[in-house]
Symmetry: D2
Subunit: 359 residues, 4 copies
């Protein structure tokens, strides 16, 4: 069943997207969020105002990778992509206008440090921004004296929840994203798909579910021990309940991962070591939804909240977008609990010892 | 309630125990066990016969740390400790005789590579061996060409399941073990305790439960990434269901851990980086059984099978010891499920996102 | 002084280069090279013939990243780049013809696994190849059971020795490469420069010196401990004399590095963890040639052979290209020995304790 | 030739030494030393007075592992060992009195945090201290929020320079140390030897040279990347000239190492991952002085200052001990430069590419 229907391919050329660049997140208590993102996770503060915090990773040279703004409803205000040139902002505006989407252009930018930009309510209901102009700041790659043991060095990707992964994927591919991996079943239901512009496994992904919602934002570390340290530190701070899932090895992407929840419940992934995907014929990898190593290579169960919870997204007026329910089977339902089944070795009925098999 | 009653302290001097040295395990299918311990975990083969396999770790210079012997009932035939001198074997024999335990002395040793040794059925029902004489073999510390990415470099410790931790602990302390850590509740029930002879957190531990049984044998790696690799390899071999629990950081011991189950269900821990405990006044650390960071510093639930399952142990005739039930509260019952409660921050009722909170 | 003179910018469009893809190296003893690249370094064998070996890294999906061919003169037969489309091979051919370079087109490819390709003697004298068509092979990212502790996961870059870095750089920038970093002095002499197509710090680099020669080919590991292991393994094999320089941290690129020499003296770098450079306005970083942390962030001396030695390159007939001497100052001369000087803190005359300061 | 002559074995029993416990070092500028040991290396401050700083490692539970005291002559005031009981302090006093050594007993201890102790001028001229009583402080194993990426977790060992390694070794073995490794030549000259009380490769070592002097004090990290980080941080602080040698892998001890020089030139090693040595028949490993992998497994040259420089030691009145020259061949002379020779493969004359072979 098709919740959305195919989104037409515009005749206007798509903007040339470089990469996911920053997310603007509304938080309910800026001080609490600052404690999480700055004191605990160690993101670099580029700028701080009464109601907003501009943060970046250590390898970044543009103004920020994350804007936290205090507001009444915790939600996502923008998924911002950087494009290759100023003209690509024009192209983005024209592209979405042809799609019939609401667009808003601001020559001075929507947030500090960013110049001419367009924000749109995309056909899936997500607030996307496209910009080229931005302030350059110091790239702190070499500032090891300031990098803690869990240093976040890059913004890696966004992840979006949407009910209709098939039609959502077509829209992203029209926009120039390469599909790198996906999760399906034998009846051709698509549960999730991953999409890249830069040379990693993704700049964004679609996770099937009631949406539009933001599933997570992911930051990269250099090595796996950096991620383990973040867990150790959360334990030392008696905040281990901020750990939702992991650390572990993904099947999809082959990356090492950890999922945290910030003080408003926004999900943050810490991620390292996927693979190069920059060739146009990069092979797309399809995983079986019943393969229990697809989301955790070590076969650990995905915690139900990871499937259920996600953040609201805002329209261009700042109001939360209403949710559309997913009508196709949900990954949670088909893989966890009495009706779900999954396997380590296809055809093998052994269950193993892990929590999900025992509780 | 006291299942056992205090074990008297012998007048005879205790043998001077150096360290846990090897375990003899009966397995049902030697080829399957060889595939697990040699092909997957990479232990070094010292000697191989039709029905037995003698394995060691890379840093070891004595003949073996593990004997696998094929037999009808998967169970533990011996927990073997090395003592400081040949005379300490005599002392061990006298010590257990005074305790009224069955003892068996073999000048030629019970297994290949080990000389004069005494085996006893100790007061808790475990088959303990004490030996000094043994063949020296090549210490392969420097053989990096032969060490895989998950190289096991030392036998670290044993862990025993026994119903009465309090009286079992007194017996081990009389035998010269230092108690390094334990888990209790506010009503002075002891759920588990850790005991060291060498300078690490333990050579053995008592885990409260129906016993005598063998909870696990633990091997050490140099670094955490070695342990992560073992998980990655099990995933690649489609054997991720051999992973029972972890990897994670222990609260107790501060070590990084992983629990596997071998083809017979015998539990193997892979372990790294606890702390020095060699001083006589080394502080004993007591954890609250309701502190959910005690067994996993990151607050992940302990899987029920980890509490429930353990290996039978054999008497000196090779018959399984009957089990005595634990009458005191069990850690599984007081911490998991409807009746259990645990906390991240004492007094705080937040539950967090993890699997055990949601399933 | 200008050894080469500016190379004109063709009117024909440059081919759209994706990335450095493979190198073809002539070796004097294929069995010895196999022992080094396969047995010691663990590259994956895609194909093996009587006189050639086709090797790839674990994350690669194209046929190979390295061709070793037995021949009389150890030298480099091709630096091969993959382009975005079949038409880009045509563009490359036209581009170099306009430059007056010798070109050779083979629809069936020059080596196994590669289709339609053009080889050129570029204006600097290097044998460059451009191809799009190639066989896909299994991407072995997830094959952890086959990956050793020093697993090489990607071809990272080439490095070329050439006397005139300024004019050589202009040629590469015309070809579409982004300059990411360089080394200069106060009098505007350029000693080296780094150039990227994919999103890393480089696909190739120019190192000032008598050329054209091949300085090194670099493969990436996931983490630093993988590189340390390669050293440990070479020690275990009593081949530590294959280590020329490092391991260490580069200033330039911020990567962790190790330089080895293969049985013919061809230099191989093992490399990990530089930074994202995919934005068009990615800041170029210029290092002072006298800053002793530029090539080793820890201030260790660069070994003279690293500056002096490099591999010959072949013309399209398979004959070694004659060398042109560098007339500008050489980095070796200005930084090592009696006439060189370098600093840790600009203006500070302290010398430190390291080998180069004492021998 | 024998500089010292054999030191008689006392009839009095040797004290039961647990481990090296702390060193007292005189520094010329306490603020500069604080910047190095606290701000850069991250040692934990237990106590701070106007002229002294008491520092410990993260896993330690006794008051300190290092006392820095400001004074006119940078030198070592005490090598302090912890003994098993208060009575062992009496034994130590009697033992050294029988040897005819100066001894000084202070019931209140020589430094803060330490109780009843005896200091002696030992037969080699070193200021040794023995104590049991000391204040317990918080063991900060679990305080990951306070541990930086280069966290020092244990005091590992001392290293002493002395001309007569053979007779010095006999004295240490009489005192109860186990010899674990040594370096010799074919003519039975001993260049260095390692001695353990705790279960690691050493608590102290003798390095042949003009002495008595202090060669280095070594602290342990958990993993190799912690050591690499310390180098990266020194680079970021533009203090890379504090790095004297390494990082690298030792042949002797199999540990990963780094040597730094503090603001007074006192040498500090950062060390990780040697092997268990606690058995009485632990095999002693002898290395050939000409094996160039003995001190660096990767074959890198030992920098001459590492052989030449060392810190003065003080007598019990606080005056520097005069130096006795080594008359036997020196390791520096026989291995570096025109007269020295060393090999990677015994009998092979290849020289390799490294700095020491080229400068």
């Amino acid at each position: 069943m098709n919740e959305l229907g195919p989104i037409p391919t515009p005749e206007a050329p798509a903007p040339n997207i470089l990469r996911c660049a920053y997310m603007e997140i509304v938080v309910s208590d800026l001080a609490a969020s600052r404690a999480f993102y700055v004191d605990t996770l160690g993101l670099v503060v580029t700028k701080e105002t009464d109601d907003a915090l501009y943060l970046r990773t250590f390898d970044e040279f543009i103004h920020h990778n994350l804007v936290l703004r205090e507001g009444p409803v915790p939600a996502i205000a923008a998924f911002a992509y950087r494009v290759r040139s100023p003209e690509d902002v024009d192209k983005a505006e024209a592209y979405y206008r042809e799609l019939g989407c609401k667009t808003l252009r601001k020559a001075e930018g929507f947030v500090d440090g960013i110049g001419d930009a367009v924000r749109v309510e995309d056909p899936l209901g997500f607030p996307y921004e496209f910009f080229y102009e931005c302030d350059h700041v110091e790239r702190m790659c070499w500032d090891y004296d300031k990098q803690g043991p869990g240093a976040l060095v890059r913004l890696d990707h966004f992840n979006q929840v949407f009910p209709d992964v098939v039609n959502g994927s077509k829209y992203l591919e029209d926009l120039g994203f390469r599909r790198t991996e996906d999760i399906k079943d034998d009846e051709d239901v698509t549960y999730a798909a991953w999409f890249a512009r830069k040379h990693t496994v993704h700049d964004t992904a679609l996770t099937g579910g009631d949406g539009p919602r933001m599933h997570h934002i992911a930051f990269a570390t250099h090595e796996k021990h950096n991620i383990l340290y973040i867990c150790d530190k959360l334990g030392a701070l008696r905040q281990s309940d901020a750990i939702e899932r992991g650390p572990g090895r993904h099947g999809v992407s082959n990356a090492f991962y950890l999922y945290l929840r910030d003080p408003d419940g926004h999900r943050v992934e810490i991620y390292t070591q996927d693979y190069y995907t920059g060739d146009p014929d990069n092979p797309t990898i399809t995983w079986d939804v019943h393969d229990n190593q697809r989301r955790d290579w070590w076969g650990h169960l995905v915690v139900p909240s990871w499937y259920r919870d996600a953040s609201l997204v805002l329209d261009l007026e700042g109001n939360p977008q209403p949710l559309v329910a997913r009508h196709e089977p949900k990954e949670l339902d088909v893989t966890i609990g009495a009706d779900g089944f999954s396997y380590t070795r296809k055809g093998d009925t052994d269950k193993g010892f892990k929590v999900g098999m025992q509780l």
